[in-house]
Symmetry: C2
Subunit: 485 residues, 2 copies
């Protein structure tokens, strides 16, 4: 093969990540734990392709308030446009519409995989990331929404979050619709989006900031002015009272009745009532609570909406760290109607795997060990090193023989880079005696750290770190060292 | 959300697959089992992005004999071209070149994921499929090739293939290079590709067909004529003798020395000798054998090449099914040089997960059970059904409550479609008595199959299929039924 000239530059494309080693293993373990919960709850796996016909995919990002242009698209050789999936729900809608007649109804599926967004990358914001979703298609019952919420709690706990470490906030689109109707802001009213955006900012702005956006408008720190919705004081007070109601599910539902009225809002309150009972039946307590300030994708959700957050972790200064949303979902009864005309009720939940992993990893101190490394002192006897690695594996110990060309020092450096807990050495002397030397690298590192420059003490400690064992006792000796560390 | 008009058609894009349910679960289990082997052997996971800069990816498909145009490419908004990865090795080369200084050397990684090829789809030939690879970068030792072969055997066995169900054929590019040199067909000779293509066809054509392609040429069944390499009879005989040597590794290596000579071929024979010893040290027996007819990607491999195949499975008629290659690999010392100029030795192995799953699944008769389904007789008491499903899960039983709107008959049909082994029913009568009805759906299906139209016998068997158990004994009773089936 002739290398092209000039040589291409080895660089990862913009806004993407290479993930490796223990960090990646943590993320994979997380997906396995969550998938196990989804399977236990009767969801079956589905894997749709990475790309779809662009028109079938549509452009309805659930966490955006308007159709988004941010997809990666390319033209097929038959002139049709293809687009990489930007979430796992749009392909599900296509799959259900295409296979509707043969699917069990309700159809319950889970899926995990990467999604791609053609957006401006930034710190911690990538153009490829993993989602892990569950959806129930074909059930209009709020009990299906409740099941999603309960399963989200179970999944977060399976992933390692303890009760008290996470919270799921619940609301329904119907409550907001009812409130807006009460305020005289109808579906076609241009102030509608301004009001909803103001409510959605309660997390980031003070309630004073939200009040300003509901009224005349707000000047931010940079001096930029955002035009407000122009509501009067009575209306603003009503919205703020509505938003500040929260806590215990049943009590909140009752109290919200003071701020909203009419058939739409009442349907919303009844819906939350059914969700509350179902959650109680599923033994979900205060970790899931009603918060009318949950907004999520405006054009997308038609009923219940919910959002999960990790809380309570402490940083090095002992302050509580907020990780923000690690997942969310809701009811989207209109998505499949794009294809079929008729409405198909559906509800689902999506966990942002990478963000959840980052949040959980921040709580993990210890790093995992690498494999045991068998050094090769004499290339002519590499077969013996391979056999030792094989014996160790048969004894349940992850192990490898060094396959590079380096001398002893380079090989020990390699073992360090691999975070190997133990190195195995068999030189000519050891061979003649029928023994191998076993080097406890973790103990060695601890001692080296403590002794600093004291060479005499170091020489003494060497005996602890390094010892000969009979060749036949190799596996037992290694397992003994590993059990201690 | 307003449905666009006209409505988009719900259809999967050309040449792609939706995979679901038990079939997908089998494939996932396979990847897990193989990954476990790779991890045990000291390989760390790596996940690179789905796409790369097109120039960094290059176009070197390992199983094609020339650079291939078949990639999916698209333009980024900064005018750079991106391309979906067509295998897992090209991104590895980019990753290693980009991170060379910080990686342990040798660098050992495994990876599993989808790859995409913009090729004409056909039956069983998709434009997206999964690979599961392991590679060692930075070791020039043939022991590293041997380790790949031994690990491939271990991976196939972990995936469920028994000894005797698979075979790994081994050769080295140097043998073919030596043979061609002996025949006077040098690197730049136009006959070179014709000879190699003829050898590569030994699997599909008779040896007579290959002889014709080495000589004057061959007319196929359709009457098309393929021009031959024009070798004389002595040369053809030499090639055919070379190709028909095979079997026991050490014996074959010795025998091959009769057909090739010179420094290149001798280096190849020495290389195979080291691989043989290392395989013996790793306790790999006759399942891995030397077959000089293994060719693989001509522009790609620089040393050892190997190919794994499943064999021995019997079809419904009792005939042996050949599944063809389920994986392969070899040494590619030039791939990273594209970026760095200097040669970095590397060897790897790739398992075609989808093909392996299909081959193994053909040997599996039984289909996995679905979850237990708790029916809902009265929507007002859905909470009780949810609680029962919860109790079953807590007792280690996969379970769900029916969340659709159908009546009893539709719910039982749903349970059938889900392959539920048991349905739980609690109507008003049962509630009053403090019991639930447990319906053994698998037993029911077996009885219905055997009784055909005999209604009287059917009524009798109903007692076996359906029975009442105390509500408090639900979980124990379900577990008892599941243990029996």
């Amino acid at each position: 093969m002739n290398a092209p000239d000039p040589r291409p530059k080895a660089r990862r494309a913009r806004g993407l990540q290479d993930r490796r080693g223990p960090g990646l293993a943590v993320e994979r373990g997380l997906i396995e734990a969550i998938a196990k919960v989804y399977e236990d709850w009767g969801f079956e796996p589905l894997e749709t392709p990475a790309f779809e016909y662009a028109d079938a995919l549509g452009k309805f990002l659930p966490d955006q308030d308007r159709p988004n242009e941010g997809v990666f698209a390319f033209e097929d050789d038959d002139d049709q446009w293809l687009a990489l999936r930007y979430d796992l729900t749009a392909p599900l809608a296509r799959f259900v519409a295409e296979n509707f007649d043969t699917l069990p109804k309700p159809y319950r599926r889970w899926a995990a995989g990467p999604v791609w967004r053609n957006e401006k990358p930034g710190p911690g914001r990538y153009r490829e990331f993993w989602q892990c979703d569950a959806d129930t298609v074909g059930s209009a019952s709020p009990a299906a929404d409740a099941e999603m919420i309960a399963m989200a709690c179970a999944a977060l706990e399976a992933a390692g979050a303890r009760k008290g470490d996470y919270t799921v906030r619940i609301s329904t689109r119907r409550l907001l619709d009812g409130l807006l109707e009460n305020l005289g802001v109808g579906q076609a009213d241009p102030r509608r989006l301004t009001v909803l955006r103001a409510i959605d900012k309660l997390d980031r702005l003070s309630s004073k900031g939200v009040q300003a956006l509901l009224g005349v408008g707000r000047k931010d720190e940079s001096g930029d002015f955002t035009q407000g919705a122009g509501l009067d004081d009575a209306a603003i007070n009503r919205v703020m009272g509505f938003l500040s109601t929260g806590g215990d599910r049943a009590g909140t539902i009752q109290k919200l009745g003071e701020f909203v009225s009419g058939p739409i809002a009442e349907a919303g309150l009844r819906e939350l009532g059914v969700i509350d009972s179902a959650l109680s039946a599923l033994k979900v307590g205060a970790e899931a609570w009603v918060d009318p300030a949950v907004v999520r994708g405006l054009e997308y959700y038609t009923g219940a909406v919910f959002e999960a957050e990790l809380i309570g972790a402490l940083d090095a200064e002992g302050d509580s760290i907020r990780f923000g949303s690690v997942g969310g979902g809701g009811r989207y009864d209109d998505l499949i109607a794009r294809f079929r005309g008729e409405r198909i009720p559906a509800t689902g939940f999506s966990i942002g795997v990478s963000r959840l992993a980052a949040a959980l990893q921040a709580q993990q101190a210890a790093q995992a060990d690498g494999p045991v490394v068998v050094l090769v002192m004499d290339q002519a006897r590499i077969g013996e090193a391979l056999a030792m690695a094989n014996e160790l594996r048969a004894g349940g110990v992850r192990a490898e023989a060094y396959l590079g060309g380096g001398a002893m020092k380079a090989q020990l450096k390699y073992a360090d880079k691999r975070a190997a807990p133990v190195a195995i050495i068999q030189g000519g002397d050891e061979l003649a005696k029928g023994v191998v030397t076993l080097k406890d690298l973790k103990l060695g590192a601890r001692i080296a750290q403590n002794l600093g420059e004291d060479r005499e003490a170091y020489a003494k400690s060497r005996e602890q770190v390094q010892r000969e064992v009979p060749r036949a006792g190799l596996v037992a000796a290694v397992r003994e060292v590993l059990a201690k560390t």
